[in-house]
Amino acid sequence: MKVLIVEDEAGLLELIVRYLKREGYVCETAANYPEGYRKANNFEYDCAVVDLNLPGGDGLKLVRMLRQENTQTGIIIISARDSVEERVRGLEEGGDDYLVKPFHLSELNARIKAVRRRKTGEFSKAMAFGGLVIKLDERTVSADGELLKLTKKEFEILVYLARNKNRVVTKDSIAEHLWGDYMDEAASFDFIYAHVKNLRKKLATHGYGDFLKTIYGIGYKFEVG
């Protein structure tokens, strides 16, 4: 998959690329508007991550252009502007998703996959890890053909971890993914701890409990071969 990342903050740009490369994506970068314009104009991308505040021009124009070029490109806007108007405008101009800075790389990664799935059915409608199958459309999880009874939050945590498989995902990133701003940090950690414990118990009934690793003091990791 080919991804274009347009971000003027060099440090952040590099880290995004490093994180996404581990997913096996081919990453193209642009650090300003003209460069972004040239790349968006000349090449096709499966996904574009675009910052709105760019030297030399408005990122929204890039979004509009990318959208006109190809309706299949998944476009994720990343911006420090967090007002409702900005979000609405971003989506109206053709963005598929809007992520407010500062964000977690694991969240960006999960959003890219979610957008691609909506657009093209890529990262197909089901994720399978051995006998463990997560069906995203039906919101079901089965282990060796048997449906597991998961709560809504357990399902969401599992999908989020699976989208970031084999990576350490921090507790606060999970908290933000599940509740946004509507949660106290300390309380949410208790919550996540309880949910993951139950989730692991349910997976363990079919021998998949080891998929969920606890990284003490930091977070969790969905580890599959």
Binding site: L12, L15, S83, H104, L105, V168, D172, D184, F191
Partner: protein, 290 residues
């Protein structure tokens, strides 16, 4: 003899007339002063109707101008500083996230990183709250709508349902009236969410959250320990319960800023272990949000 009387009464009349003119001019000036408020930029007094007070007015104007400029500079500084902090914070967070993926990470390193992460997150939340405060001060909330307070309160409490469940808190909602307020939808949500979060965070395990809407007043009460903070300081920035590690001490001062912006009344009282915050929406003054 007669001349003396005429002179005396003339002087007296003159003095009285002078006094009347002076008082009239003073009253005019007073009226002008009442028009000036802290959020009005470049407010100045005119000496046209009060020529007697010209030197004093000139001095006051100079002071007003200086205060105005300093107020603006302070607002601008807070806004710039917090915005400039956002990017380095984002970069630090991303670095930690990547570092955590390293297969060579030992237990000690992981623990240290966990500590850094917790504190960066705190900084990050603190910074977002400061950005919000400075945005409220700069009145940058254009999404004005008719807000149904009761309806929005229900939505907000619904969003907190996980947290409410976790603390085993019972919600007692009594909506006796419909309160419609014309204000920014985002600020309305922030106001109600902060009030709700405050009542949940400082609640007792297995306690209750009582929200009552009556007339134009919203009352939110919760049982809890006696405050470590003086009630009159409750709304000040960085005044927080020292036992509550997660509290930034900014939630209620955000509530207060929003209430001041729209002219809502805001009160706190404490009675027999019950903390109550009251927002009175009846005094609403339309804030010019642009």
């Amino acid at each position: 003899m007669e001349e003396w009387v005429i002179l005396a009464s003339g002087l007296l009349l003159g003095a009285l007339a002078g006094w009347a003119v002076f008082r009239w001019q003073l009253r005019r000036l007073w009226r002008q002063m009442e028009q000036i408020s802290p959020d009005m930029q470049g407010g100045q007094l005119s000496a046209v109707q009060a020529p007697l007070l010209r030197p004093a007015i000139a001095h006051l104007n100079q002071l007003l101008q200086q205060i105005g400029q300093e107020y603006e500079a302070k607002k601008q500084f807070t806004q710039d500083a917090s915005h400039e902090l956002q990017t380095p914070l984002a970069v630090i967070k991303a670095h930690i996230e990547l570092l955590l993926q390293s297969p060579r990470l030992g237990e000690q390193e992981a623990e240290a990183l966990g500590g850094i992460l917790r504190n960066v997150n705190r900084l990050s939340r603190l910074n977002s709250a400061l950005i919000l405060l400075s945005k409220i001060d700069n009145q940058r909330f254009p999404d004005v709508a008719q807000i149904d307070i009761g309806l929005m309160l229900k939505e907000v409490l619904d969003n907190f349902s996980d947290l409410i469940g976790l603390q085993k808190i019972k919600v007692e909602l009594s909506l006796h009236s419909t309160v419609l307020v014309s204000m920014s939808a985002s600020l309305a949500e922030i106001l109600l969410a902060n009030l709700a979060q405050n009542a949940i965070r400082h609640n007792l395990r297995g306690g209750f959250l009582r929200a009552k809407l009556k007339g134009q007043r919203l009352e939110i009460s919760n049982p809890g320990k006696v405050l470590a903070v003086l009630p009159e300081k409750l709304f000040e920035r960085f005044e927080r319960d020292p036992d509550s590690e997660q509290s930034l001490g900014l939630g209620l001062s955000i509530v207060q800023r929003i209430c001041i912006l729209y002219g809502f009344g805001l009160q706190y009282h404490h009675h027999q272990g019950l903390h109550t915050l009251v927002v009175d929406f009846s005094k609403q003054t339309p804030a010019n949000t642009n």
